[in-house]
Symmetry: C2
């Protein structure tokens, strides 16, 4: 895992070399390079390896997914969105570079990420690369994280308690907002690794289970953690009447649902003996016990 993180950080740094005008590249670098777990790109590399591929071929795609993740954080933090002043323990992008540059840095990352994939991926057939980029576009846009974010804002603005079936809304939000990026990471790694049909099937099941577990974990953590541990404002979900697993089911039931998804994730991925996947699942379990 540590080795993968180093590879990713080194390549992100190189892909994002500062050109003219420096302000935009610095704003992009700021959020992309904030220390983080790099879970999505690590998953992409690991899936490529498990599928029988060469991780070198998946590095540009893994980095592109981290860029897309950073983009979503930059725009989510904007005053007109979640209005968050901190991210990963540091001032959020617009607090450092101003709103205009934060909007533009996010915009730039959305199209720079597939540019990185196209210009730097070797040894992958053009039709496979088109599939990877198609998956990227689906995850990034109105059939992925944007759809999830819009549904999330609506649940907040219109008070989800009035919704006919808030459970359906909650699942839509998280399938699109969180699980979509994990699915992209895992599916693109499998595509680049030229995975068998069986492997692809397993990895997509795993993507769903892990993505769901991750989101429930995140909702629980927002309720029980502290700013110091998390590096971002906590307790906001509750204050703002957000639709989350905790607000809808209560803390204990949310933990129960989390454990369900964790068991499911272990079951699917167990046969591949991946320390990285096993440890990532394990951490979701531990995190909520503290």
């Amino acid at each position: 895992m540590k080795n993968y993180i180093e590879i990713i950080n080194k390549n992100l740094d190189e892909f994002l070399k500062v050109k003219y005008p420096p302000e935009i590249f610095e704003a992009m670098r700021y959020t992309v390079l904030l220390p983080g777990k790099r879970l999505r790109p690590v998953f992409c590399l690991e899936t490529c390896r498990l599928a029988g591929g060469n991780i070198e071929d998946a590095i540009p795609t893994a980095c592109a997914i981290e860029m897309l993740h950073a983009q979503s954080l930059i725009h989510d933090d904007l005053p007109c969105m979640d209005n968050d002043d901190f991210r990963r323990g540091k001032p959020s992008n617009h607090k450092v570079f101003g709103e205009a540059n934060a909007v533009l840095a996010g915009d730039a990352l959305i199209s720079f990420a597939p540019q990185v994939i196209i210009e730097n991926t070797k040894n992958v057939p053009a039709d496979t690369l088109l599939k990877v980029i198609n998956e990227y576009c689906i995850a990034a846009g109105c059939y992925g994280i944007i759809a999830g974010q819009v549904a999330d804002i609506q649940a907040e603005n219109f008070n989800y308690k009035n919704f006919e079936n808030p459970e359906e809304n909650l699942n839509f939000i998280h399938k699109n907002k969180t699980a979509a990026l994990f699915k992209l990471a895992l599916k693109s790694g499998a595509l680049i690794g030229n995975a068998s049909d069986e492997f692809m099937c397993d990895i997509l099941d795993f993507a769903e289970a892990f993505g769901m577990a991750f989101q429930i974990y995140d909702d629980i953590i927002d309720e029980i953690s502290t700013f110091d541990k998390l590096g971002k404002t906590v307790g906001k979900d509750k204050d703002e009447g957000k639709l989350t697993y905790v607000s809808l089911y209560g803390l204990d039931n949310a933990k129960c649902k989390l454990n369900c998804q964790i068991t499911r994730a272990y079951d699917i991925i167990g046969k591949y003996n991946s320390d990285i996947f096993n440890s990532a699942i394990g951490k979701l379990g531990e995190g909520t016990k503290k």
Copy 2:
């Protein structure tokens, strides 16, 4: 031209069918479908035809370029950017859908456009399509319109009169902010039409000349036109001390530079006998005489 515009409008409408959550698709549709000249997508189709290709193959790319153009308008109009309340005679996107949805609609368009290309283009080899998408990404991002927009904001914030070589800044802004999209339209049309080297060379020269002419025209029009004619706030460049061809060289010299680029554009494209290109160049000349 009219025929091309109809094809583009029909396809834009189909590509942007409203799905869940409707708000995001409606916000995307609102700006993309505002009546306009569709100059960039028309250029893409016409270039494909002149190169010897089938315009059917270029329709998704032509529509994608119009989507990218709309995206840049939505985000440029935001309060933290140019803060414009009107666009093409209608309230701008954030005035209708709110700032959060306007940011998200723009974000969604950036990745939806290449998704449309990949999912709807037939009869074009995968490696050619990758080149088209690469050009799209370059034009859309920190090596294209975003770079131009950042440099534009800087010239405004730091008063370009203090710059060592404001002419260089002005050329950078417009090469990236305006010419980049015309270059994308023309180059991608040529790629899809499987153009000869000579044709590609000519079309890239033409892209530069026409893009430059278009921007000088736009700067002049902002100075001399009215809200009724233009459907957007005019005279803002002057009020805000923007770096434009008019502010840097004066109105008469700007007109002179425009005529220079118009002559250059005619010279390059003349041998292809395209009514569409000739008439588009002609309109830039007429517009400033009124």
